[in-house]
């Protein structure tokens, strides 16, 4: 019986193997559950950059994006036992990251509400993050010099949450509509509608660059 199970697992695993010979996400998850730390390192290797980029576009704050991306992996690691493989792992991890990012944005709003109004406001009334300056070079320093990229990023970050998430997932991360719908736990029609509405809002702001 045990031999049959092993054989079945072996056949299934072979079938699940990616074309390039790498293990699938689900196989890596299974290996991590069995105590293989290198499997989890492989998961991190696959998703750390996409997640960091996604969260950076979401929050427009690199340090916070890195912090939340790390937090996402920690939560995934401790919740692997509850993960069901009927869902794509990428959907699962993006959903966790999205929830963390939304929580962070709401926390910022509360903090902003409680802070003394006007103390940290710029001349054009735009919100200015009060953060101590550091000499570290941002990973996207090239963008800092690129005025257009700055304006696009700022326009995306200014979108309402309900439009920002699907637009970033679709147009920045290149996810399919189905994947975006699954990550947001919405219907396909609603997802498409929100993407369209988000793009329309961006178009109004970015007319000069189109």
């Amino acid at each position: 019986m045990a031999f049959d199970s092993t054989r079945t697992f072996g056949v299934g695993a072979q079938r699940k193997h990616m074309a390039d010979g790498k293990l699938t996400d689900h196989e890596l998850v299974d290996a991590t559950r069995n105590g293989d730390e290198s499997a989890f390192a492989e998961i991190m290797q696959r998703y750390r950059n996409p997640l960091t980029n996604y969260l950076y576009r979401f929050l427009n704050d690199y340090e916070e994006a890195v912090d939340l991306a790390q937090e996402t992996f920690v939560r995934v690691y401790f919740a692997l036992d509850r993960y069901h493989t009927q869902y794509a792992f990428s959907t699962y991890i993006y959903r966790i990251a999205t929830n963390l990012a939304i929580s962070e944005i709401r926390r910022r709003k509360r903090r902003k509400l409680l802070s003394l109004t006007g103390l940290f406001q710029g001349e054009d009334d735009s919100e200015v993050e009060f953060q101590p300056t550091d000499g570290k070079i941002l990973a996207d320093e090239e963008l800092v010099d690129d005025e257009r990229s700055q304006i696009i990023a700022k326009a995306i970050a200014a979108l309402p949450e309900k439009y920002r998430v699907p637009v970033i997932l679709r147009d920045v991360e290149g996810k399919s509509y189905d994947e975006v719908a699954q990550i947001m736990e919405l219907g396909l029609g609603t997802t498409k509608s929100r993407i369209s509405r988000g793009r329309a809002l961006l178009k109004e702001k970015l007319q000069n660059y189109l």
């Binding site: 929580s103 990973a139 696009i152 147009d171 509608s193 329309a200 178009k203």
Partner: protein, 248 residues
Amino acid sequence: MVNEEKNMQEPEHLDVARLIGTLNRVQAPKDFDFHVKARIAKGRPVERRSSWLPVSVRYAMPLVLLLAVGSYFGFKTMYSTEEANVPAVAYAPSQPVIPVSDAVTSQPEAVREIPAGSTVAEVKTPDQGNKVVKTVQKTPVTTDVKTEKPGGGSVDLGQSNAASIRQPDEIDDNAPGPPKKVLVSASQFLASVGIAASSSGSGGRIQSVSGSAASAGIQVGDVIESVNVQTGTVRVRRDGKTITAVLR
């Protein structure tokens, strides 16, 4: 939401999508994995959810509530009005008061002779249920009559015939049941029925009568022999005759 669901067409504004797609992608820092492993080694992540309430208030509120509830029940216990609610004249003895004269006459062998001229004397009955103690003072004439019961109860016809009768905790009329704390004052009872008496050699001599006592035939000069607050009976002696009056 309904409007959104209606729009099932492919999202437009592809020029915007292409523009967004030109954004450079940022990379995770090189020490990313190290920090993740360090966090994992620390244990499960702590919820970042913050509360509107400051930490001190979040901990203080349950404490204050606990103290308030504790104080409420504490004060309620300390200052319970259970005793105070007992009527002052709510006397309900289980056994009738034995008149001193009856006790003396019915149990002559138990009487210890009161020496003439003595100031204090005691009269006791051998009855285990009731023990009558009579103390007589010659000058000034004062009669203290106590009826003691096994549980420690006593009926005290006190100085100047201001008799006070105490009912012990252990005595209960309709046992079984919780013991009652009944404090009875015969003097209050007499006063309530309109009798004012002074001490005399053999009992309380009535000095003034009014109210229900006068209606019942009690007269000035009668000598009180016994008082039964339960039944409202006052036995007096007039011209060598014993008269019993029920006063309500």
